[in-house]
């Protein structure tokens, strides 16, 4: 028997609470896992296999994860938007010999020995559940551009930041096949409450209505998800006790606007990555985090080298998947997050990704820092900085801007916003021009889509 409990065992421990995982299309009663499964007829033959999980519906994904953890050797969590070529390469890297697919569509043409359909509602288990191994969870990294790498976690590394908690009904805007969403799924499954999920292109208005009807108390999403909530009319449908932002830099503008909309809620912005795991959560309502956290010898150790935050903890991924993959950590066990931090007084601020830097005549600009200055303007809801090629300086900073409350730009808008930027930013960081847009695209992972 493995030392750590598996998911089915965590679900069984909390039985009798009438807990469900709900999407728009399915309601999954967790107590039924005692006697039923989404993979019923196939479960025995999936034992110790490396399984690619390719389902569209998030309730099915949740059911298959509960069924497979502690039973399959590996589970590869594939986000629903992955195209065939990416699925094939993930299956190859994970040496997959089985796949689990939606029961109501045909199996994707990936060469594996066994294709098992996942069905809801759950069907009766033929033999009682047992655990046979500690499953490797294979997750894609959440880069905002470029192909994702695959990393290996275990249930133990994934649950390192999750402590026993009182009754909490969770909801998330994330897909549970991404690290941020998976954290919420695991909190819910190991806790006492229910979980409400979205997916399949459901609008933010519909999500908020369902989450409100489910009386959720705890909810998480990226700052981009939350800006969509702030821009919708349905924000008042939920009344959470706790609100969590993660996956992108939370600036004071979004934190302040959310606290104004939900005055009762405790608001935290968490810092985590698929590679480094959950690092910390900040709940003082301000962007950044206390510099003193770098010196602490808590379960998570942090240090800054070459500008970026490095993290060592047992929540970090074990390694990258693949024969020629680079090491995930340095010789001391620290994972380089690639997130650049800047110390201002007694606080550290995230200023952007090392890979996203715009080089303006040799001066390096982090798009996120410029966006924070733009977003701080009272008329701006959200912005996205991009580089424009320049024959003089190599590149120039430009930005797309969405105004608050559907306001239309007038002749003075650009001038006023840029004038405010000039008081906060050095000249090379001030956008050379703005484009006013009505909306900004968000990736399937819930992050502001950036140009590759």
């Amino acid at each position: 028997m493995p030392e750590t409990p598996n998911l089915a065992c965590l679900v069984r421990e909390k039985r009798g609470c009438d807990r469900v995982i709900a999407t728009r299309d399915h309601v999954l009663p967790l107590d039924e896992f005692e006697v039923a499964s989404s993979l019923s007829a196939h479960l025995a033959s999936l034992r110790e296999r490396s399984v690619v999980l390719i389902v569209r519906d998030m309730a099915k994904a949740a059911a298959a994860l509960i069924d497979l953890d502690g039973w399959a050797r590996r589970i590869v969590l594939c986000p629903p938007e992955w195209e065939l070529a990416r699925l094939e390469s993930a299956a190859r890297d994970a040496e997959a010999d089985a796949l689990v697919f939606d029961g109501d569509v045909s199996a994707p043409p990936i060469p594996v020995e066994l294709a098992a359909s996942c069905r809801l509602p759950l069907e009766k288990l033929e033999t009682p559940r047992a655990a046979c191994c500690e499953t490797e969870w294979i997750l894609p990294t959440s880069g905002t551009s470029g192909p994702p790498k695959l990393v290996i976690h275990t249930l133990r590394s994934l649950m390192g930041a999750i402590a026993d908690a009182p009754l909490q009904h969770w909801a998330t805007f994330y897909d549970i096949r991404r690290y941020g969403g998976l954290q919420i799924f695991l909190r819910a499954v190991s806790g006492q409450g229910s979980l409400s999920l979205g997916g399949d292109g459901e609008s933010v208005g519909s999500l908020l209505s369902r989450f409100g009807a489910a009386r959720i108390t705890h909810i998480s999403g990226t700052p981009s998800h939350w800006r969509k909530v702030l821009m919708s009319r349905e924000g008042g449908r939920i009344d959470p006790d706790y609100l969590r932002l993660s996956g992108e830099i939370a600036d004071n503008a979004v934190l302040g606007a959310l606290q104004a909309l939900y005055p009762r809620a405790r608001i935290e912005h968490a810092y985590a990555s698929t590679e480094a795991g959950v690092v910390f959560a900040v709940d003082d309502g301000r962007a950044g985090f206390p510099a003193s956290w770098l010196d602490g010898d808590s379960a998570v150790q942090m240090r800054v080298a070459e500008g970026s935050l490095r993290v060592r903890s047992d929540r970090c991924a074990l390694r990258f998947l693949g024969a020629n993959a680079p090491p995930i950590a340095d010789k001391d066990g620290f994972v380089d997050t690639g997130d650049i931090v800047d110390r201002r007084g007694d606080r550290l601020y995230f200023v952007g990704r090392r890979s996203g830097i715009i080089n303006v005549g040799g001066v390096k600009v982090h798009p996120e820092e410029v966006e924070a200055a733009l977003n701080a303007h009272a008329a701006v809801r959200v912005s996205r900085v991009f580089a424009r090629k320049s024959s003089i300086t190599g590149a120039l900073v430009f930005a797309d801007v969405v105004l608050r409350d559907g306001r239309m730009p007038d002749a003075a808008s650009e001038r006023q916003i840029l004038a405010a930027c000039r008081t906060r930013l050095p000249p090379h960081m001030v956008p050379a021009g703005l484009r006013f847009v009505s909306d900004l695209p968000v990736t399937d992972g819930g992050k502001l889509a950036r140009h590759g």
């Binding site: 303006v360 005549g361 424009r388 320049s390 300086t393 120039l396 000249p427 050379a432 021009g433």
Partner: protein, 81 residues
Amino acid sequence: MSLSETILDEIRSVAANQNKTLAPLTDDLSLNDSGLDSLCFAILVARLEDITNRDPLGSAEGARFPRTIGEFVALYEGALA
């Protein structure tokens, strides 16, 4: 407005935005002495590209890099001719 007036207008506007003091704009004023730094020029060239759809400084035609305001204007006039 003529092309040359448009360009001089944009030069003044960029300089004002960037808090630069411009020397009097004459044809033979050296660009290096104009008061504009390379960031100002980059912004100016981007703005003129938006207006004229041309970036004569970015084209690989082997054009001589302008040294004076007059040459700078002439470069755009040539590109649009």
